[in-house]
């Protein structure tokens, strides 16, 4: 037996914290961290509803998998852009390793 509301509160707070991170940060990577928290809040909601509905359903597990995939694609492109911006700011990041 489990209660649904703690998971809902957790998801909501994660989304709130993520939103704060997006709004209050200026570094692009830190903004990205906020976005990840929001996406995870959504995942918690999906998994929690999958676990507490009366009829068994797998959507609560499939959709988080999709979200994680989309998050991966989003992070890859976002970080490429961040890197480009960093190079554009005139700092040479091509120093030999």
């Amino acid at each position: 037996m489990i209660h649904a509301w703690p998971a809902v509160v957790l998801a909501t707070c994660l989304i709130g914290i993520g939103a704060y991170g997006v709004l209050a940060r200026r570094n692009a990577v830190l903004v990205l961290i906020g976005v990840e928290l929001i996406l995870n809040g959504a995942n918690v909601l999906f998994v929690a509803s999958g676990a507490t509905v009366s009829v068994p359903s797998t959507a609560g597990s499939v959709l988080p998998l999709f979200i994680i995939t989309i998050a991966a694609a989003e992070v890859v492109v976002a970080l490429a852009v961040v890197l480009l911006a960093f190079r554009a700011s005139g700092i040479d990041v091509t120093e030999k390793s």
Binding site: I33, G50, T52, F66, L79
Partner: protein, 172 residues
């Protein structure tokens, strides 16, 4: 409170603490590491909620791949040890952000809590077999589309990361 509830609340509090520190710390690399704490505890939350595959994928992909990529990006750009003031926003800015975030939380709670209900229900454990059957049956088309999305983002990211336009030189 049942044993599952206790476990859920425990992991949840840990996740919230990690998330809060991730968005407030002044150490840039620490922010990514606190994100690891948050994401790892969320894997625990998913386990408590009976979603085994999601929990393991969270660790494998989110912690093992996405956060590592973020750390890479931080380390090839600028990530000195110690607090960094370059990116700090003003207290007023942060205050406004906090108010908006709190409003968002209140709004979502007002909508979602009544739906969640307050009684204890039986936990549904997602069977890995049923998950596979639905993924390749019901969700086949979105699944295929995801491969195109991944291809597009890979090609785009490599093109951006290697664009000559900015540095004017090609190295590698």
């Amino acid at each position: 409170m049942t044993a599952l509830d206790v476990a859920l609340v425990g992991f949840g509090l840990l996740a919230l603490a990690g998330a809060l520190l991730a968005v407030t710390t002044r150490h840039i690399v620490h922010a990514a590491l606190w994100l690891v704490v948050a994401l790892g505890s969320l894997a625990g939350v998913y386990l408590v909620l009976g979603a085994e595959i999601v929990a393991l994928v969270q660790l494998l992909v989110y912690v093992g791949a996405i956060v590592v990529l973020v750390l890479f990006a931080l380390m090839v750009t600028r990530s000195p040890i110690g607090p960094s003031r370059d990116h700090a926003t003003s207290p007023a800015h942060r205050g406004v952000a906090a108010v908006i975030a709190a409003g968002l939380v209140a709004l979502l709670l007002a909508v979602l809590l009544p739906i969640a209900g307050s009684g204890a229900v039986t936990r549904q454990v997602t069977s890995n077999r049923a998950l596979g059957a639905d993924l390749f049956g019901t969700w086949a088309w979105p699944f295929e589309l995801l491969s195109l999305l991944l291809l597009a983002s890979l090609v785009a990211a490599l093109a951006i990361a290697r664009s000559r336009a900015v540095t004017g030189k090609e190295d590698a």
